[in-house]
Symmetry: C2
Subunit: 167 residues, 2 copies
Amino acid sequence: MKHSEGLEWAIHSCALLAMMPPGTPLPRRLLAEFFELPEPYLAKQLQKLSQAGIVETRRGPRGGYVLARKPEDITLLQMVEAIDGPDRHFVCTEIRRCGPTGVAGKHYTRPCGIARSMWKAEAAWRKELAATSLADIQHLGMAETPPEQTAKAIAWFQANLLQGETE
Amino acid sequence: MKHSEGLEWAIHSCALLAMMPPGTPLPRRLLAEFFELPEPYLAKQLQKLSQAGIVETRRGPRGGYVLARKPEDITLLQMVEAIDGPDRHFVCTEIRRCGPTGVAGKHYTRPCGIARSMWKAEAAWRKELAATSLADIQHLGMAETPPEQTAKAIAWFQANLLQGETE
Ligand code: FES
Ligand code: FES
């Protein structure tokens, strides 16, 4: 069981957008360049984030992506579900009712114990993800980014964004 | 993100083995028949359970599968990892080091905050699964099985196991 590869990219993208000064949309091309990612595949992740209401686009010569909400109001769970979908990981296909000893469906009054146990664990996972915000991720990231990188990043954004990039 | 389809089958198979009277191996053919599953694909799940030390085979004319440990000593986590593998669901590919602003690897002293946050949620999920035993699953199953089905199952096993089935 694995997350989509695009999940890592999506979370990094959101964390980077969270760092941008207010009113500074980030063109998709720069996002891809910053992380050395293939732009068409990154575009798919950004589209999913946009459909989930996490990012939005600004049109125009200085257009690009911005966060649609404050980092405090975006949870890790929302980003994960935007990319991987909201479905449960465990699917009960009701095989308890199959075979030579199964009886009519009406005799099974609630979800089976296997599914309930699996879903309880998923709920613990979701709860943890919902308790972590993009702001938390951003602060962890800021604390662990080497100062050399921070300096290079500021210089790189100044050089590239000042050129009036478009999406 | 989804579990393998075989996971449901594997857990049901273990729960059924847990119900068998001591010293009564269950032939694979009967396991498949009981749940109406394709035997070759069920065989793959049983092989994984066997590699994980959860079930074992008894040879001979009355051979078949038995649990390798008591249901109290088998956790839901062990069954899940036997089928899906023990790997983490979130993989950090260290893209923080990539791109025009990345700096040398030695400057990043520990796993990144994104991975740590994702793994924390996985740990909560694993903890929940590790706290549920096959005995718990078995008791939930017994409580919710319609009495008609229990009666049919006992009759079916008596009729089929008494014929001296082999694996
Ligand atoms: S009946 Fe199989 S998991 Fe619910
Ligand atoms: S650097 Fe991307 S998740 Fe760790």
